[in-house]
């Protein structure tokens, strides 16, 4: 057996990745399996890096959330084992955390990170839109999200979590992805009206 041709991913790892990329009903299960599988990283962060339990949990869950996003979008290429790859994300996030702790010790205000979607807009238009986005009152937006109704809320959250209209149709038992798109845009319009009323 040639050791250099050994597959990088184990069957279990491949299973987890498949269930997340399929974006259907199995994704949630896949996310949970991924979280459970390497949850000992939390313990390691507490012992090795002397982090509090809360910080270690945040660090690990942010790692898993970021990994899920990459796996679902197909950016994980499987060139290394899932553990090695996750550990590199975990380590980078740990370095970020240290940096934030040393440079921004007194800051408790967290802003949302730049939207990935904005990256596709040309520079001039991006500046205009970014300035408007910066004016958003996130608290009010969050409050209004509760008022759009449970079904709308669930649909919009799935959309923001990277599920396609087709995936949502399967999960929420809609007939077609076109119906989901129409409903989703209606929900978004409703959210906008509620937000602008304030």
């Amino acid at each position: 057996m040639n050791l250099f041709n050994k597959p990088t991913l184990s069957t279990d790892e491949r299973d987890i990745i498949d269930s997340i990329t399929q974006n259907g009903a199995g994704r949630k299960k896949g996310e949970e399996r991924l979280f459970n599988r390497y949850a000992y990283f939390i313990k390691e962060a507490i012992y090795k890096h002397s982090l509090s339990e809360e910080d270690a949990f945040d660090l690990y869950s942010d790692t898993i959330i970021s990994a899920i996003e990459k796996i679902a979008s197909g950016s994980f290429e499987g060139r290394s084992s899932l553990k090695t790859w996750l550990y590199s994300i975990f380590h980078n996030k740990y370095v970020d955390l240290l940096r934030k702790k040393t440079t921004n010790k007194n800051s408790i205000h967290h802003t949302l990170s730049i939207s990935d979607l904005l990256l596709q807009v040309s520079d001039h238009s991006k500046t205009i839109v970014q300035k408007l986005v910066d004016k958003t009152d996130w608290e009010i937006l969050r409050e209004r999200l509760v008022q759009v109704g449970e079904s709308c809320r669930q649909m919009l959250l799935l959309w923001a979590d990277g599920y396609s209209d087709k995936d949502i149709a399967g999960l929420m038992e809609y007939k077609t992805s076109d119906v989901v798109k129409t409903s989703r845009l209606r929900c978004l319009e409703k959210l906008k009206q509620l937000y602008r009323k304030t």
């Binding site: 060139r79 937006l141 959250l157 799935l158 979590d161």
Partner: protein
Amino acid sequence: MEDNLEYIDDYFQRMLNAEEIRRFEQKIAEDPAFAKEVAFYLAAKQGLKAEAEKEKKERFKQLLSQQAPVVNIDGDRNTRRIWIYRMSAAAAVIIGLFFAWYFLFPGAASSQQMADKYINDNFTDLGITMSSRLDSIQTGLRFYNDGQYDSSLKMFEAVSQRDPQDYLPKKYAGIVCLKIGNYNKALQYFRQFENDDTLYSNPSLFYQAVTLLKRNQTGDKQQAKELLQRVVKGDLDGKEFAEQWLKKL
């Protein structure tokens, strides 16, 4: 208004053609009400994403509480002792292997160390002033210097897609990939401007060599050597390092 949302949604789902994209972006610049609609769409998605992540974290917290306690000092003592024995044995094996490897393949360790040193000395922080012509490049560099490599890479990739002729975003995307250990992708980016003869100083070959030395797979060192020889011969960017390194390889 719903029509506007559909139009905006189509743009961000990449369903518009080049001309429609141009008109869409022009409309943002010329129509403040439309720009506001676009901003709402993005803010809503951003806010919803944060909310979805918050819910996911809550779910993870519940999962964790169903597992054994994270910190269990008493239970850990025995495990720790076993681990100390295991670690000592592993350390002895590693030291043995290191010496065997060092004497059998002299230079293997040093070539990777040379690459490491170069990366640490030159790619820890990237100068923001290197390009003042593009907002996005500057933002990408700021992300890089803040250690936000994912956002930085996305930014450089987006600029590169918009302007495929420009070598700068490709160079930076390659550096980010090299920094995060995605060597194959780094090589792909560096190769893309290898033949760009409009550049006064082209670092493509030298960066490829650094990446190969860092990756250190079978055949990488030989390939890096050939690239470094081309750097010296062509008097290209990185020539001084190339000359020094070739003596050691």
